[in-house]
Symmetry: C3
């Protein structure tokens, strides 16, 4: 029985011996969590454009935290239902007939515990009679919060590098 036990303990030691290597820049759990957090926040950045472009403004507003805030060319608005109403007013409640869309790119995401920040680029494309043109472009500066286990926009600031809408 002792031989078996030593064998078992040998395996345990092997397992333990791997921990310091795995923990080279943090525990396996912390490293996995960091990768998952960035993946989930990247998905949030993509869902923002997807729901906006498909005019699913209920799904769009749900990407914000309870007290989430949006700041951009249309103005400033805070709170999920307020954001939804604000975008309905700015974009209308009908479908996106022109098939305009956002290319989301250049994500620079940082995470610390249950908060995070991101910088990214948006390129707003509008199809025309022949091909498509870039109608607007700019940057996003975001802060995030993990609310009930899900990453949400705490504040999104959309800056324009081209003339804002209506100008």
């Amino acid at each position: 029985m002792h031989r078996v036990m030593f064998f078992v303990i040998g395996y345990c030691l092997l397992s333990v011996a791997m921990v310091p290597t795995a923990a080279q820049t943090g525990s396996v759990e912390a490293r996995l969590r960091s990768l998952e957090d960035k993946e989930q926040i990247a998905q949030l950045l993509i869902d923002y454009g997807r729901h906006l472009d498909s005019r699913d403004l209920a799904a769009y507003a749900s990407l914000f935290a309870t007290d989430g805030e949006w700041v951009g060319g249309f103005g400033t608005v805070k709170g999920r239902s307020e954001i939804k109403a604000f975008m309905e007013k700015s974009l209308g409640t009908g479908p996106n007939r022109g098939n305009s869309y956002h290319i989301m790119s250049n994500f620079a995401i940082t995470v610390k515990g249950d908060t995070g920040t991101a910088w990214s680029r948006w390129t707003f494309v509008t199809p025309g009679e022949r091909g498509a043109t870039i109608a607007q472009a700019g940057r996003y500066d975001d802060t995030f919060v993990r609310e009930n286990g899900v990453w949400k926009f705490k504040k999104r600031v959309a800056s324009n590098d081209t003339a804002p809408p209506g100008k």
Copy 2:
């Protein structure tokens, strides 16, 4: 010897104690696999554009499952060799002289076991005498299958948000 054993067992317990935390949203294995699957599928989406734009249509066709299907502006085609022949007919077998290319963006990937789905955007750019223009743009709706351990397109539906080719 008992002191050593308790020491060893103490380490084992420490290791065991970390498992529940690590398994907060699944086992380490499941979480790693999920991240890897998404990374591999994202690479598949990128390789699609890369091989298409470089006119490596053999490599392009190899990205599809054995019974993989392509649906888009050129028509519908099923099977690897059929897809290769179809694209050779649609695009020609010569080099991509115009250096046209696809910007692949906004990947929304979901995985369940050995199957997966994705939604993404494509922006087709054609260089001209001065700079480049967006000649076409649209979306991809994909289903994937893990075939012999490698993710492949089961079905790719390419939708156009601009006029399709030849219209």
Copy 3:
């Protein structure tokens, strides 16, 4: 005491039993490291454009290895301070008044130990009076090296698919 010990050993065995599954395509450590390496290199590709577009040429040059090299439409240059001086000469030392920017996309990254390679696309956008246009576009072929634990450009070759600047 023996009951407790068997209980403990049982847990250890359980933990050990999970290792072969986890190691399906390498150890947990190797798999985590692979995902982290690709994530860090993707960030390097994004930081390149971010620092270049914001004209933070000191931060830009710091992304290269000590003997890092840049090859592109402006010419060829090697060494961090040389790269900084070269870009200052090519782009000027003032702010980026036109708000031009790079869309970085289609990252294909491979890593082997402390070296890596990548292929990716760049689309250079210049805002105008109405919307924005693609002024240039091309590809990057990169080699990387992990220097003091941080991924750096060993060599970046920027190819143009449109006419290079000044042509």
